[in-house]
């Protein structure tokens, strides 16, 4: 079996160094407004975050997180209103229970702790959001590329795959 490589082929071939790609799911009422707040205050944070706005952190199906990783995210952030502040009263109570359970599950699947971040960010906490992004980007950068699609390809997962390599090296 070929050894897992931490270098993405395209990235290795070109001069452009690998950059962490992080998907952030933010709730509309607090965390997205908090991110907006960081922007209007012109706070600097790295551009490695792809923000997905959802109406409530309670809407963030754990499958969105697993799918983000499966499609190549190096890290995923989930942010919502602080407990007690949910616009929908109890949406984030579900998040509060789901995310630690998801974290334990992801750990069982071999994801390092730093790749999945769950934090409360209020509409006023632009500074906290910017700081959080800086911190997450740095810790994911230190962990290196996750490249889950590459790992799946390497194991021949997916229809029409080529098992030739396994036959030779298994």
């Amino acid at each position: 079996m070929a050894q897992a490589t931490h270098v993405q082929p395209d990235a290795a071939a070109t001069a452009a160094p690998w950059q962490p790609r992080i998907v952030a799911f933010l709730c509309y009422w607090c965390s997205y407004t908090g991110a907006d707040n960081a922007g209007t205050a012109r706070l600097k944070y790295p551009p490695n975050v792809d923000i997905v706005r959802v109406m409530c952190s309670g809407r963030i199906d754990p499958a969105l997180v697993t799918e983000a990783f499966a499609r190549g995210a190096d890290g995923v952030m989930v942010c919502g209103c602080h407990i007690g502040d949910c616009h929908y009263i109890s949406g984030n109570h579900k998040t509060m229970a789901r995310m630690p359970l998801l974290r334990r599950t992801l750990a069982g699947l071999g994801l390092e702790d730093g790749r999945f971040v769950h934090e409360w960010v209020s509409a006023a906490e632009g500074e906290k959001f910017a700081k959080l992004v800086r911190q997450v980007v740095e810790q994911v950068r230190a962990l290196g590329p996750l490249d889950w699609p590459g790992r799946l390809r390497e194991r021949g997962v997916g229809h029409g795959m080529d098992l030739e390599r396994w036959r030779e090296h298994a």
Binding site: P62, A63, T66, A97, R98, L101, L163, W166, A170
Partner: protein, 322 residues
Amino acid sequence: MTTNGKLKIGMYWAASCGGCDISLLEIGPHLLELIAAADVVFWPCAADFKYKDVAAYPDGFIDVCFFNGGVRNSEQEQVARLLRAKSKTLAAYGACACDGGIPALANLRTVDEIFASSYLDNPSIDNPGRVLPQTTFATELGDLEIPRFYPHVLRLADVVEVDYQLPGCPPQADRVWEALQAVVAGALPARNSAVKVACTDKSVCDECLREKRLEKIAAFKRPHLAIPEAGWCLLEQGFVCNGAATRSGCGAKCPSVNLPCRGCYGATGDVADQGAAFIGALGSLLEAETEDRARELIDQVVDPVGTFYRFTLASSDLKGRR
């Protein structure tokens, strides 16, 4: 080779336990009706057919072939491809062929770890020479070969085009008979490997007769350590019952005898990742007003990956351990 105009059916076992083969017998007296309408042309578990017999069939000779088990090694892959060519209709039969099943939990371990556990380190193993199986062995009569062990357990659909999926561990006899009747009557739905047959799109809760009292989970319990209250939703009582995230069709057999649903029919309807769906469901059912309390409860869940993805790791988004 039979040419009596009867249907020709086949069944094969790959990475599976043999339970699926038994489940086909569970249709009981209906077997006689089946045999009246169809000839078995390949069924290693029950009849002495060789691979070379199958290879000698013309392409598309087998009308319906039920393939149970996932694909773990090169022999299974080879037979899957052979049966695909020789079958008009190829159905993934049972949880392992559909979603990887229990064997796919091995995707949480590397080949080296599996071999070390199977051949070297288990307390019951006596292997002082630390011998591991070799795939080829030279003899005077030529090289002998055994199948190669793949690094990942795959679903049947990962290897070949599949026409239908019949989930379940094993598929429940009444549903199997319904599917077989459709085969015999030529009334199969349009081919689509994404559509599962012999089941419904709803969840096990939909068929479960236990009462839902809308109470939240105050503590998690394990089925061998506590006796559930009769008639009350197992999940609300704190038993990790996968019913909410599991496709129905089984008739909620396990919950009806006080056993939490293990999730063998896989994800419901359009859901791709059964484990993530169950985490979503479970997270909304905890009796927790603070984060600390939620964590305290969550820490009581034993083996989240093995529990939430018990039968569907090969179908999940991440498909295995990194």
